[in-house]
């Protein structure tokens, strides 16, 4: 058994392109599942499969740091939070019809149109990078910005991009406080906030929208 992976002969067979297309295919299929599946919990699971494949694609595109981060942040935190939200709000056993008659076609039409537009711009443009790359390579910063190794990312992150890095931490702190404030009972808010917010069920289903359940 070859004792180390990285001296395996890569170039004889385009394994990474093949892998890329597998990941892309699985990602797109699970993406479709997310939008079409009846039960939201299954949509959640499909979304997680999609995130994992995206992490695979990042690894293939030469930056494993981003792949690990994606796994950690998206699959570990955001997806778990979404699943928690689904559990809190969804009644498991009675799947409800989720779209009215005309709505899917409008959405379909809009997104297909957008995709056509994007596809045209992408395939027609010629990305002439050769000239551009070496012109910026000799720029002032000591870090070699062309090699995507983790140490370079770290250095680049903290020297030229130090300010946005701190800003991001402020944003996350603000979200933390906002989320906690939202989760508390609203009856703390001043009395004139209309119907008491924590009445278990809103007094009357708004007559305008017929109950669709």
């Amino acid at each position: 058994m070859p004792f180390s992976m990285d001296i395996y002969a890569w170039d004889s067979f385009p394994i990474d392109t093949l892998l890329f297309w597998c990941f892309a295919a699985v990602m797109l299929i699970s993406g479709l599942c997310v939008v079409t599946v009846k039960r939201v919990f299954h949509a959640g699971i499909a979304m997680i499969v999609c995130f994992v494949c995206a992490a695979g694609i990042y690894a293939l595109l030469g930056c494993p740091f981003m792949a690990a981060l994606q796994l950690l942040v998206y699959v570990g935190a955001i997806a778990t939070m979404l699943l928690f939200a689904v559990m809190l709000t969804d009644k498991m056993m009675e799947p409800r019809p989720n779209t009215t008659f005309f709505q899917p076609f409008m959405g379909l039409f809009a997104s297909v149109l957008l995709f056509g537009l994007l596809w045209l711009t992408v395939s027609s443009s010629k990305f002439g990078f050769a000239g551009w790359a070496n012109s910026t390579a000799a720029s002032s910063s000591a870090i070699d910005i062309t090699s995507l190794s983790t140490t370079n990312i770290g250095l680049r992150l903290l020297t030229p991009y130090a300010v946005p890095f701190e800003l991001i931490s402020v944003i996350i702190l603000a979200t933390l406080i906002a989320a906690i404030a939202l989760a508390r009972k609203e009856d703390r808010s001043p009395a004139d906030s209309g119907t008491p917010a924590d009445a278990p069920a809103s007094p009357a289903e708004p007559a305008s929208t017929p109950a669709k359940e």
Partner: protein, 102 residues
């Protein structure tokens, strides 16, 4: 032909973006809408990483990481809002929530 070209990655990301958009537009359950939104964020990140790989320039990844952080913050706030809506209306159908009194 076998080498990976940029525009193939970009088209995949664009397709994912459109799927996310379709999800946001058609889904009635607001949590599923949020999931569609997350798909769109992912598509954007794939684009950024693709440019970082082919250019090759480091800023793509750094921007992707910032994008990641903001997406996480945004979905946290989204879920908090949805849960407080659920507490008031007992359901989270996007059609049902149209009064502003709150």
């Amino acid at each position: 032909m076998y080498q990976l070209e940029l525009h193939s990655v970009l088209s995949v990301a664009a397709l994912l973006f459109c799927i996310g958009l379709y999800g946001v537009l058609t889904r009635r359950n607001s949590i599923a809408m949020l999931m569609g939104l997350e798909l769109m964020f992912n598509a954007v990140n794939i684009n950024l990483v693709a440019f970082a790989h082919f250019l090759p320039h480091l800023d793509g990844i750094i921007l992707a990481m910032f994008g990641l952080a903001v997406a996480a913050a945004e979905s946290a706030i989204g879920i908090a809002i949805i849960l407080s809506i659920y507490r008031n209306f007992r359901h989270i159908d996007t059609d049902g929530i149209n009064e502003l009194k709150g």
